[in-house]
Amino acid sequence: MSVHTEPAVRVTGLTRTYHADGEPVHALAGVDASFQRGTFTAIMGPSGSGKSTLLQAAAGLDRPTDGSVWIGGTELSRLSETKLTELRRGRIGFVFQAFNLIGALTVEENILLPLRLAGARPDRAWITQVVDRVGLGQRLRHRPSALSGGQQQRVAIARALASRPEVIFCDEPTGALDTNTAAEVLTLLRAIVDEHGQTVVMVTHDPVAASYADRVMVLADGRIVHDMPQPGADRIAEHLATLGRSRAVTR
């Protein structure tokens, strides 16, 4: 099965430099990583370490300064903005850290937006299942402004799942959720990996959330500093703690 030997997402030599007020900020300083199909990866690291930047570059939302991103067999840097969008539309789902929804549209319309933009017919049964999973069956006709932060985040997850993408990127999907809802969302993500063979890459600060993943990558100052298969919440916490201490010492 050659298909399975090819990772769902692969990044090589990824750098991203921002120029804010003339001074360069190296948000990513050379990242190599691949994410196999049917796996659930958590990316952790201190604030400002480049997690969101990595996720956006890998999802084709941002163009890296250098390096390349492969989604399956496609290299993204060669694609035009339109081709890139079309690829994202079919194969990638994204849940942003904040400000995820379009205020003008209802919950349901927000969920169906990518399909609508693609001109695709929604798979009703799947959508119903997704909506049930995120527990928003009663709120479909509401505007995002009437939802709580956690509910908005769940709508965003439902939207990312709606087109059954190969890879789903989530930027702190449970950051604003209570423990129970967070557990539900994480179980949902775990299930789509296990039951549907999809690939999930999730940024989180929560070791408990990370323990749902198959693998945890830790980022610091734009580099991968740890890459652990199924480490368990305790080990993750420990690693993060050492990271914090060593950073404190180096300063």
């Binding site: 956006q56 939302l61 941002d62 994204f94 942003f96 850290q97 400000f99 003008a104 937006l113 933009l117």
Partner: protein
């Protein structure tokens, strides 16, 4: 996409209302102007004077042909200001053609009643062309006979037998001005008061009361020599008119052979002149307004798109292609423009109705002129609005669709400060173009001057619009210490905002500069033109008295005046027009024809080179502005056409300053004899001591309708004439200035309301409401200062270069009250449109706004 666009619009009613307002007002103005143009273009004069003629041979217009760069032949046709003529001998040749039953020549002879009412004077032979039929008496047989039409004559007829004498005015004949056969009637014909016997009365459908002379007498009185206004042909029954027209055409040479339906074109009527005016006014102002609308619409739509960057970036991130986002924005703009047209077009039609009423009551357009319903105008305005909105949408969308979707995730909606190099370079190009057009010679004439001013103004505003991000950033840096000193912490915050928002505030700055620049220049242009025209006329008139009349003065009057003891000089003046071609387009230029003898003692045209003493047949003097517009030099031979279309190649023998007061071309009177509609003088300028007044007044009394006036009164009359056309200019300029003001107000309210989140954050971090208000005041003060400075500079540059080109004065006249109005108006505008909306935002607790996405 459309339904998504609709949803997005409904979610942000504020900015769509602003765009709607800008577009609807644009549609209103365009529709109103369009109705004028459409009415003018669709006006087709109904046959009246030649209603009974099958064919009319005439020359209503003149055509200029030129070869364009690509070798195409370009034709420009202009209606002849004095009416064209055809050779008198043509009638004889047409008479020989088979199928011709009747041929009659027609001439219009200037006839006035003793009370000054103009009558239509014709030869009896031409009566069949209308037709007029005798109802009483018989046709005029000798020079003393006239046939009067049965139409009532306003003011009555002067029988001449009343005991009061000539000077005491006319006594009406019969009841209600109706004449009886055999009575005597006194008429001013060819500028001379004569007594005729009414030989008959005729009834017909003319558009004015007519008086018919015997054909021999008519020929003697006719204004043209060897030529006539028109030749009418009545065909024998059963003749193929198409063939006949061809045959007549072969004989007629280059004159027009008009069929019955078109014969109205051969008549000179007030309606025809009004149609020309409507086209000119509507088209020129419509043209200026289109540019303005494009500016305003681009600014408003640009701003509304900018305020939704976050939403649009999110749509991009959620998998919309750049093309889809572009289409969505364009669909949105199209949608708003359709609504705007639905509001603006009916309002524009109503405005056109009002305008027609005003134009009619002020005498620009005759009563009952057929105004078009405006169907084409409405469609045209809708089209223009739609296209400019969609293009503006495309422009704004191009900027936004280039956003990387990742920007949607950024917490702050602050955009990159650096604007593109292309923008910088285009801005510099626009600035250079504006600067050089300010130094280039500017075209002359009321309307054209406005055009030149507006062209320059638009270039300057375009430059400001393009360079606004840099201007704002530089201003913020320069103003920071000032604002901090004046407003403390609030000033510090204001400077920071101005700097961070340099690009976002570009639209606001542009619309403020546009309003100040417009208000400060075109509005005052009219003042300058009027003042200058009156001043030139006053300083240029050396003559102390003038004999003026509406009925025309015959040759003999000049001789009479010159014979009065004490009269040093008398200069007869004819107001006429000539036609010349500028870049292939025929253009009518106001001209005066004068007798150069003794002109030094009556007129001072401000000759700068050459001399009026050289003025004789085959020469002309031209005003400085006209010479520079057409590129004529002293001694150059230029191809003019007289008002009746006769070619006149003249050598320029003098160039003078006072073009606004006296017209742009001065010809020797001998050159236009037989080439004007009446062939009479309009006034005689007299240089004489007061002792001559009695004798002069006697001459005036002998010519009903004429009056001896002080030359001060002549200039007063000029001012009144100018004020009339100024009313129209003022109205249209006011509409344009008003539109820029509304647009500026619009963008500022939009910009203010878009700041609710930012202000909420400030208040939550502990900035008090008072401090926020002071911060906004400080920002407004900064922005306003920059706008007034730039707008004022642009206005001053524009105004002074146009005024200099027109009048030679470098310093334009600006009424102090006008300056106060412009400055005060802008300040009030800026405060009312920002401070009030902000105050409203501040009344709501900040937490309610914090969740609102920008």
């Amino acid at each position: 996409m459309i339904s998504l666009a609709t949803r997005m619009l409904r979610h942000r009613p504020g900015s769509s209302v602003a765009t709607l307002l800008a577009l609807a007002l644009g549609a209103l103005i365009l529709t109103a102007m369009g109705v004028l143009v459409e009415s003018g273009l669709r006006y087709h004069p109904a046959p009246v004077r030649y209603a009974a003629a099958d064919l009319v041979v005439a020359r209503p217009d003149t055509t200029f042909t030129s070869r364009e760069f690509d070798g195409e032949i370009y034709r420009s046709t202009v209606a002849l200001p004095e009416g064209g003529t055809v050779p008198a001998g043509l009638a004889g040749r047409i008479r020989g053609i088979e199928g011709v039953a009747t041929v009659a020549v027609d001439e219009n002879i200037a006839v006035h009643t003793g009370a000054g009412t103009p009558l239509s004077g014709r030869g009896w032979a031409s009566a069949v062309l209308t037709p007029y039929e005798l109802v009483d008496g018989r046709a005029p047989a000798n020079d003393d006979d006239v046939v009067l039409s049965t139409d009532p004559v306003p003011g009555g007829l002067d029988s001449g037998v009343a005991p009061g004498g000539a000077a005491s005015g006319g006594v009406s004949t019969g009841e209600a001005g109706r004449a009886r056969v055999g009575e005597q009637v006194r008429l001013v014909v060819g500028g001379v008061l004569r007594t005729y016997r009414i030989s008959g009365l005729a009834r017909g459908n003319g558009n004015a009361a007519a008086v018919f002379f015997s054909d021999a007498h008519a020929a003697a009185l006719a204004p043209h020599r060897g030529a006539v206004s028109a030749v009418g042909v009545i065909a024998a029954p059963g003749t193929d008119l198409g063939r006949l027209a061809d045959q007549v055409g072969q004989v007629a040479g280059d004159t027009a052979v008009l069929r019955r339906a078109d014969s109205g074109l051969a008549e000179r009527s007030a309606d025809g002149a009004a149609a020309g005016l409507l086209i000119q006014v509507g088209a020129s102002f419509g043209g200026y307004v289109i540019l303005l609308i494009v500016f305003v619409v681009a600014a408003t739509i640009g701003l509304s798109v900018r305020h939704r960057r976050r939403d649009l970036a999110l749509v991009r991130a959620v998998a919309a292609t750049p093309g889809q986002v572009r289409r969505m924005i364009m669909a949105e703009s199209a949608l708003v423009s359709v609504f705007a047209s639905a509001i603006g077009v009916p309002a524009g039609l109503a405005a056109a109705g009002w305008l027609t009423g005003e134009l009619t009551s002020r005498g620009f357009v005759p009563e009952g002129f057929p105004m078009a319903p405006g169907v084409i105008a409405a469609a045209g305005a809708t089209g223009v609005i739609l296209v400019s909105a969609v293009l503006a949408g495309l422009l704004a969308a191009r900027r936004i669709s280039g956003i990387k979707p990742a920007e949607a995730l950024g917490e702050a909606a602050i955009e990159p400060v650096s604007a593109g190099r292309v923008r910088w370079i285009s801005g510099l190009v626009a600035l250079t173009a504006a600067g050089s057009s300010a130094f280039a010679a500017v075209a002359a004439g009321g309307q054209t001057a406005l055009g030149a001013a507006l062209g320059m103004l638009y270039l300057f505003v375009l430059a400001v619009a393009l360079l606004a991000p840099w201007i704002n950033a530089a201003a913020a840096r320069l103003l920071a210490p000032l604002l901090r000193a004046a407003f403390g912490t609030s000033g510090y915050l204001a400077a920071a905002n101005l700097r961070a928002n340099a690009r976002g505030a570009a639209s606001v700055l542009t619309s403020l500069v546009l309003a100040v620049g417009f208000g400060g220049s075109v509005w005052f242009l009219q003042n300058n033109l009027e003042r200058q025209a009156v001043a030139q006329s006053r300083s240029g008139l050396i003559a102390t008295r003038a004999l003026v009349t509406g009925a025309g003065l015959s040759d003999s009057v000049v001789a009479e005046v010159r014979a009065v003891p004490g009269v040093r000089a008398a200069t007869p003046v004819r107001n006429t027009s000539v036609v010349a071609s500028v870049m292939g387009d025929g253009e009518v230029i106001g001209a005066r024809a004068v007798d150069p003898a003794g002109i030094d003692a009556t007129l001072d045209l401000g000759v700068t080179s050459g001399s009026l003493a050289d003025l004789r047949d085959g020469t002309a003097a031209v005003s400085r502005t006209q010479a520079s517009t057409f590129g004529w030099d002293l001694g150059e031979k230029v191809a003019l056409r007289l008002g009746d279309g006769t070619p006149a190649d003249v050598r320029v023998v003098a160039i003078y300053e006072h073009g606004l007061g006296f017209g742009d071309v001065v010809l020797p009177r001998s050159a236009v004899i037989g080439h004007t509609a009446t062939n009479l003088d309009d006034q005689i300028l007299i240089s004489a001591p007061a002792s001559a007044d009695v004798a002069l007044r006697e001459i005036a009394a002998a010519h009903p309708g004429a009056a001896l006036v002080d030359t001060g009164t002549v200039t007063g009359g000029l001012a009144k004439d100018l004020a009339l056309s100024a009313w129209l200019n003022r109205l249209l300029i006011a509409v344009m200035v008003g539109y820029t003001v509304v647009a500026a107000a619009n963008t500022m309210v939009m910009a203010a309301l878009a700041r609710r989140r930012e202000l909420a954050v400030l208040r939550l971090t502990g900035v008090t409401r008072r401090q926020v208000k002071r911060m906004i005041n400080a920002e407004q003060a900064g922005l306003l200062g920059v706008a007034v400075l730039l707008g004022g500079t642009i206005a001053a540059l524009t105004l002074s270069s146009v005024v200099r080109a027109l009048t030679g004065n470098l310093v334009p006249y600006v009424p102090p009250l006008g300056v106060a109005t412009v400055l005060g108006g802008t300040a009030v505008l800026a405060l009312a449109t920002t401070i009030l909306p902000i105050a409203r935002l501040l009344r709501v607790p900040p937490v309610e706004h914090i969740g609102v996405r920008e």
